[in-house]
């Protein structure tokens, strides 16, 4: 019984091969585009998040409450070692480092610029961020470096300094005193993010503690989790254990630390969504058209079936089976093609000439890669399936309302 009906549906699909192939091609095309685009979006979000996380924020940060908004030098984690011990023991944490920072004036012999001076842990920092690999000239800091500094390429250019030159930092210490010190440029880094390269100086944490009179306090304890997915769980664990170590601390995740990034991802999702809606409408109309045409053309045949004792319900199911065959073939082709195209670009990447500026803002490479995942493949295929199922409802309902005499009166 089943096989007879499916066989009949199969043959009906091939009655008008050109129309069916076109319909299936539009389903396949939509599947292909959806899978590729979703893979692309998810892939680029991952790249964006990972690079932003690895240059700047880490996955999570432990900070004094209010520091993220006010950035006052006195808002510190007082006992970073004790906090670090807890962090290290927390499940899902990969590694961590500490940072402290202060806005200061940075001067060379004949120029002065405002910059963020960051105290970093030269031993731990390379495991957390890509900073070490960004050093283009000179070398990265070592723990016993004393008063030496890394400086962004654009800031170096503005100050007209190079490796080995001396710069002077002038700011305010934690105690309100004037913090001033000369440091020697040990290395110049270039992240590609102009803002970062124009306004950042890194010095060893030990030097920072002395210059800014931090009394052991740090501003950020930067945490890297085992994966992006484990971030929420780690955040929750830390939020419950930290109050036992030190009061007044908060755990912020990368979304809270970089609201701009989250926003631009949302914008991208929305603009993608609009495109998908248009694409999906095209497919829906193509399915709708195919089946309305088929019903119109096959009215006589349906009349014969009804005269033989078949029911509108059965004929309607046959239409659904035909739609199922077409959609199934279309989606299968779409998944195969979509996966193939995605995998090709996953291997070769796509270069964005002209968009470097925007990409740089997020520290993104000029070549980006889609990322085929079960999610992007199934969401793409699922959405197409859903839409075609919707599109065939109307034709199927029209068949349900078919009265034998109306269908039969076309036979004469």
């Amino acid at each position: 019984m089943k096989s007879f009906t499916t066989q009949m549906a199969w043959r009906n699909v091939w009655r008008n091969p050109r129309r069916s192939v076109l319909t299936m091609a539009s389903v396949a095309f939509a599947g292909l585009i959806l899978i590729f685009m979703l893979s692309w979006q998810f892939g680029s979000y991952d790249t964006m998040i990972n690079s932003a996380v690895s240059i700047h924020t880490g996955h999570l940060q432990v900070q004094a409450e209010g520091y993220h908004d006010k950035r006052r030098i006195g808002q510190v984690v007082e006992r970073p070692d004790a906090v670090a011990k807890v962090v290290e023991r927390t499940k899902g944490v990969d590694t961590y480092t500490t940072r402290a920072s202060a806005f200061s004036l940075v001067s060379s012999e004949d120029r002065t610029y405002a910059a963020l001076v960051v105290g970093i842990d030269p031993e731990r920092e390379p495991a957390v961020s890509t900073l070490e690999s960004l050093v283009r000239k000179g070398s990265f800091l070592a723990p016993d470096d004393g008063y030496q500094a890394l400086i962004g390429r654009l800031l170096a250019r503005n100050l007209k300094v190079d490796v080995g030159d001396e710069i002077v930092l002038l700011g305010q210490g934690r105690d309100g005193s004037i913090a001033a010190s000369a440091v020697r440029v040990k290395g110049v880094f270039e992240s590609g993010q102009d803002e970062f390269d124009r306004s950042t100086v890194q010095i060893p944490m030990a030097a920072f503690q002395e210059v800014y009179a931090m009394r052991g306090g740090v501003h950020e304890l930067v945490v890297v989790c085992e994966s992006l997915d484990s971030v929420p769980a780690v955040k929750q664990r830390l939020a419950s254990t930290l109050p036992g170590v030190e009061k007044g601390l908060v755990v912020l995740d990368w979304k809270e630390l970089m609201p701009g990034l989250v926003q631009s991802i949302q914008m991208d999702l929305i603009s993608g969504f609009i495109f998908y809606v248009i694409l999906i409408l095209v497919v829906a109309f193509s399915i709708l058209n195919t089946f309305l045409m088929a019903i119109f053309e096959r009215k006589k045949e349906f009349g014969v079936l009804l005269a033989l004792g078949s029911t509108p319900g059965r004929i309607s199911r046959m239409i659904l089976a035909e739609c199922g065959v077409m959609t199934g073939l279309g989606i299968a082709a779409g998944v195969v093609l979509g996966a193939a195209v995605t995998l090709y670009f996953e291997a070769h990447g796509i270069a964005f000439s002209g968009a470097e500026e925007i990409l740089r803002q997020f520290g993104l490479p000029e070549r980006m890669y889609p990322e085929l995942s079960l999610l992007s493949a199934t969401v793409g295929a699922g959405v197409v399936l859903l839409i075609t199922s919707f599109a065939v409802i109307y034709p199927a309902l029209r068949v349900l309302r078919l009265r034998p005499v109306d269908a039969i009166s076309t036979i004469q």
């Binding site: 007879f4 009655r15 006589k300 033989l308 034998p404 005499v405 004469q412």
Partner: protein, 236 residues
Amino acid sequence: METQSIVSLSDVTKTYRQGRVQITALDGVSLEVPQGDFLALAGPSGSGKTTLLNLIGGLDRADSGSIRLNGNDLGAMSESELAGMRLEQVGFVFQSYNLIPVLSAEENVEYVMLLQGVAARERREKARAILDDVGLEGMYDRRPAELSGGQQQRVAVARAVVSGPSIVLADEPTANLDSATGRALMDMMRSMNEAKGVTFVFSTHDRMVMDYAGRLIRIRDGRVAGDERREGEAES
């Protein structure tokens, strides 16, 4: 009414509305069709033959009067009961476009049995046997497009009789055939009637076809204008 009637119509009327115009297609038709009849409905085009056949087969409903098939009042049946009734008790043959184009001759015949829930093996045996009976042995796998008009009508008749319906309704079955092929089809229907006792009601306006009828009912303007039994007039 010595034998039990398969079909029994009493004072049946049917009016079509086309915009503001009302067309009376049937105007008080009463009729008994006993088991085994080979009955021709004869009348000019537009006299109401098709309408009458559609009403008897439960494809459409009468405006007034009653139609009984094997004693059951069609007017009281739901659409799905009518579909079930058509499936089990009525065979249809139309003037043209009888066969499902994607199904082979054998599958077309099998289709009714499939709906009835007959097992695959039995379907196949019965379908082939009846196709042999109508002279289509060896053409089981041909699609309608690969059959001549006469052959297609034979498949339609085979399909109509295969599961032993109470009555076969044929609406101008020979109208699209040349006269020799038409004769052959009528011969075949006649022999089905004689050998298996299948009751046939067919419409025609062709004198040659009327000559095959065991009983001839003349229809004029939606009324019965004559009802005669004619024995042994068919020639082969």
